[in-house]
Symmetry: C2
């Protein structure tokens, strides 16, 4: 059993390696060639924390992975990182534990950002983009970074609840803090939402038709970023139909009966088939996070660092 440090993992995986692994896993998932059992969830209400355990594999792969990811939101006040985690890589041939990836949540954050970038690139209007970002956390920042690897970005406009956080992020990624969320919606071709919001961030009639939205925030019940009404006339793509129908943005829209699930596309199919974007139609990518992406990226990290 080898223990692989975060530094080793980062050094071993090029951005192209990450994008390849995530694209491959999303396509495999759309083709039902992944094994993703229901995760384990633990709550720590007194400590303000929760933990998820996800197992996953791509069918016919030589390894499977078990990932622990924790989020304890009072840690910041103690000067500790709020997220932590570790990934076990085991052999699908012998059951042997091959490696522990001491990634401290890096693989999850990276595959989430890479999936957001792939979805946005595939669904956004052609050409250089005016990017809107709603949210000022790590995931908002990473998603913008990864999108620039796939697409020229003309300008970035950032909105967040805390103006100083929006200014900080703008400085870091080379954009501008927006005066208001309406400004972002009025100017951006594509809008990334990466917040922990529990209610829609804007009313449906504030969105410009033809805009593309990629929503990353809703990863468990009780979260919402996009208004249900936005789904009425939109082309909707999800990473996993069961999860999105249960607790993604799509769940709210299905409950409000503004669309039916048979109109929803899978991101893996879009990445494989690269259909043309209908002009002037709003598109939505609703991403809830798929365990098979962890497996694909962890296997790549393992293969790149252990021989």
């Amino acid at each position: 059993m080898k223990v692989i440090s975060l530094e080793t993992i980062r050094a071993a995986l090029s951005p192209a390696d990450v994008l390849d692994a995530v694209r491959y896993a999303l396509i495999a998932h759309a083709e039902s060639r992944t094994i993703v059992p229901a995760p384990i969830h633990l709550s720590f209400p007194r400590a303000g924390g929760d933990a998820h355990v996800k197992a996953g594999m791509i069918a016919d792969s030589a390894t499977f992975t078990v990932k622990l990811a924790t989020g304890f939101y009072l840690n910041a006040s103690r000067g500790l990182p709020s997220t932590s985690g570790v990934v076990i890589v085991a052999s699908a041939e012998t059951g042997e534990v091959l490696a522990i990836l001491d990634d401290r949540g890096w693989l999850t954050a990276t595959r989430t950002a890479a999936a957001a970038a792939l979805a946005t690139d595939a669904l956004a209007p052609p050409g250089p983009l005016t990017l809107g970002v709603i949210g000022t956390g790590t995931q908002a920042s990473l998603a913008a970074d990864w999108l620039r690897l796939l697409r020229p970005v003309k300008s970035v406009l950032i909105a967040g609840r805390r103006p100083e956080a929006a200014r900080d992020l703008a400085q870091r990624i080379g954009g501008a803090a927006a005066a208001s969320l309406s400004d972002v919606l009025a100017q951006a071709d594509v809008v990334l939402t990466a917040t922990a919001s529990a209610t829609a961030l804007f009313p449906a009639n504030a969105a410009r038709p033809g805009t593309h939205f990629t929503a990353l925030g809703a990863d468990m019940p009780g979260k919402q970023e996009l208004p249900e009404g936005l789904f009425a006339a939109a082309c909707v793509t999800v990473d996993d139909l069961d999860q999105a129908s249960d607790h993604g943005e799509l769940a709210h829209a299905l409950r409000a009966r503004v669309l039916t699930a048979d109109r929803v596309m899978l991101l893996g199919s879009v990445l494989r088939d690269q259909p043309d974007r209908p002009p002037n139609v709003t598109t939505i990518a609703d991403l809830t996070g798929v365990g098979a992406l962890d497996a694909a990226l962890a296997e790549k990290a393992f293969a790149a660092t252990c021989h």
Copy 2:
């Protein structure tokens, strides 16, 4: 994050430490002071393997654990161990991953044997025992070893499908291979069953009234060691009522309607209250394995090796 080797774990935990931790966890479990979410199960039919992921904690404990345990039964023919695994110990206060116990399945095998010894000692007739063992694998051997730490054993009689394996085990633990399974049932005060059997090992009328049985084998649907009829007049104790009713020996007896669940006692309550054994009544301990025992033992191992 520390990585703790099997050798370090074994050296740090005395038998008394193990028995204390397992007794404590069983009592906490009977008092609903444990958190044991439904496990994740993965099957690898082509490789003849399966994997379980169990999370668990004792309420108000400083840590929780996530355990991967694998069993690949074609490994033996390749000269590899058939079981493997690893335990993650994480903080219940901050979510931080504190340690990886590279125990290769030792904690699971040990807590299973210790629970079997505690159950057998608590439920067997008083005084030195004539011990019967059905099964010749690691778990049969370990359970006999651990029982000797709690009770004088006069003699051990071993029955198994393969006579040479029964003779090997008899030599190792200081007993005798039985001529037949009937001999074991005729002579033993207590009978440990630790097989992977899918059907009852003997008919109910072959058992002597007043015998105590501890059954370890049925850990998933489709397994059975004890005949349903044995439960009709027996005092029945289980480690976990939901699991035993779902896939333990008890599940077969409940389906056959030879008893109702309200007559079943919890092992933790028996260990706490130490009720007197009714004379000449058959007693049964049906053990399916509880995730909280992993957590208690892993926490003890972590505390004993990390300061």
